[in-house]
């Protein structure tokens, strides 16, 4: 099994700790002029999402985690699993609710997501940064009012609720930033 020494540590590196796959968030080399060298590391458990700090002695080795980020198309959900397909190999993977997590309100069929696989099993799903979704529910539009800057809540086809300008109507398709849930503009037809 591959392993990494502390001098190879950098953010984004995937390692196994206590049986769980983890990602290095931050790595600080700490050494007094006279004394033992340590690496103070912030880690994220990719299964639980929890982050914490752990100190290693410099020179220690840690097992590598077989974790890969793969671009996959979202196909469908049966309510229990969400199925994704690798567009080049047609290989399909089913992610459970825990793996889909915060991506859930943004998942639109055929959109390309980044699926994090651990030993071939989906651990996490990241939606595209920008998605185009239809407004399925909102207050009636206020015509001509484009300069006021007021907003109202709008429910989208996937269930997400975002703030949109007052002039938008039910049935409009908009672009949204999935990281901030921010309205970006009307989708180009």
């Amino acid at each position: 099994m591959a392993s990494y020494s502390t001098n190879e540590f950098k953010s984004g590196l995937k390692v196994m700790l206590d049986g769980d796959p983890c990602s290095i968030v931050e790595n600080e080399f700490v050494k007094p002029g006279k004394g033992q060298a340590f690496n103070r590391v912030r880690l994220k458990n990719l299964k639980t999402g929890r982050t914490w700090e752990k100190t290693f002695k410099s020179g220690e080795s840690v097992e590598a985690a077989d974790v890969m980020d793969v671009e996959m198309d979202y196909l469908y959900s049966d309510g229990e699993f969400w199925t994704f397909m690798d567009p080049t190999t047609y290989d399909q993977k089913a992610a459970d609710k825990n793996a889909v997590g915060d991506a859930l309100p943004w998942l639109k069929e055929q959109d390309t997501c980044v699926v994090t696989l651990w030993d071939g099993t989906p651990l996490a799903v990241a939606p595209p940064n920008h998605v185009e979704l239809e407004i399925v529910e909102t207050d009636p539009g206020v015509r001509g009012d484009t300069a006021q800057g007021g907003t109202k809540p709008a429910k989208l086809a996937t269930g997400a609720v975002v703030k949109v300008p007052l002039f938008l109507e039910q049935g409009d398709v908009i672009r949204v930033d999935t990281r901030s849930a921010e309205y970006l503009g009307r989708a180009k037809e």
Binding site: N7, E28, F29, V30, K31, P32, G33, K34, G35, Q36, A37, F38, R40, W52, E53, K54, T55, K57, S58
Partner: protein, 310 residues
């Protein structure tokens, strides 16, 4: 930050340091970068290379050569140049870095601490440096009601596991004290500058030992800017036999840990034996001092050619 600003600031810093040391009648000298002996310190690794069938060591500090010059000339001396430490890379570390190191004949620990503050003040263009003085023992007593000079592993290990993010078993008391210092005590250094002195005897390096209220302590200090270690100094060991003993002890530790063996600087031992004047010495990390002066959060932006570009 533009690299030109960093280059100009470094030039000013070096000029101020040299001005101060010239006024104090400390002589600037050059010492070899490639020595036939290297540091034996088990915590510091030298770069080694082969030259003319012989191993040479890139110097991790000019300390051996400067002490030999103090012994042969009886003068206070300094050097300002590059030193090399294998495997030290990070926000505050680079495998080659700039060190100012000087020795003052006739100075004791208090004298060199004061001198260091004056030099740093001069480098920063300040009239004086307000530094909080505290001993290693006082800090451990305040934080953990623990006398670090008498602490045993069964007392230290639970503290480390409770208060730090190091959870593996400890190998030594020294390691535990260092973790507590780094993760608990240093983050509480609120003064602009802190002078920490009287380190445990097993962290003595080239410092002499003294008795402090019944405990053996190293006449060693460190100067911190906030939580950043800037300088490390000693009331220097001048006892040749004790020096030879420490070298042998280091080599034994290296052998037990499977680390490379190092050629010992016998010439330093001989220099001490020939009659070394009472003196104190200190080194300042100039990249760090510059980063502090420019309010940067690391030394890498100051290097025109960082480790990955050089």
């Amino acid at each position: 930050m533009h690299i030109e600003a960093a280059l100009l600031a470094r030039q000013q810093l070096y000029r101020r340091a040299r001005d101060y040391l010239r006024e104090q009648d400390v002589l600037e000298v050059e010492t070899p970068l490639l020595g036939s002996a290297g540091t034996t310190d088990p915590q510091i690794e030298s770069f080694q290379l082969r030259a003319g069938g012989q191993t040479r060591y890139l110097q991790t500090s000019p300390e051996f050569f400067l002490k030999r010059l103090v012994a042969s000339t009886g003068r206070s001396v300094y050097s300002l140049g590059k030193v090399f430490r294998n495997g030290e890379t990070g926000r505050w570390h680079n495998p080659e870095f700039s060190m100012l190191e000087w020795y003052r004949v006739g100075f004791n620990l208090q004298g060199i601490m004061q001198d260091t503050c004056q030099l740093v003040a001069a480098c920063l263009g300040q009239p004086e440096l307000q530094a909080h003085r505290v001993s290693y023992r006082e800090l451990f007593e305040q934080h953990f009601s623990l006398n670090p000079h008498r602490a045993e592993l069964p007392e230290v290990e639970p503290l480390v596991h409770q208060y730090t993010s190091y959870q593996a078993p400890l190998v030594s008391v020294a390691e535990g004290l260092q973790l507590l210092m780094d993760q608990v005590i240093e983050p509480g250094f609120y003064s602009p500058f802190t002078l920490l002195y009287h380190f445990p005897a097993d962290q003595c390096a080239l410092a002499r030992l003294t008795d402090c209220e019944g405990d053996p302590v190293a006449e060693r200090f460190e100067l911190y800017a906030g939580q950043l270690e800037l300088a490390n100094g000693y009331h220097e060991l001048t006892d040749a036999d004790e020096q030879a003993h420490r070298f042998a002890n280091d080599l034994q530790q290296r052998q037990q840990a499977g680390q490379p063996q190092v050629t010992v600087d016998q010439a330093l031992v001989e220099a001490l034996r020939s009659g070394m004047p009472d003196c104190a010495g200190v080194s300042v990390g100039m990249d760090r001092l510059l980063a502090h002066a420019m309010q940067l959060d690391g030394i890498q932006p100051l290097l025109p050619f960082g480790w990955s570009q050089s």
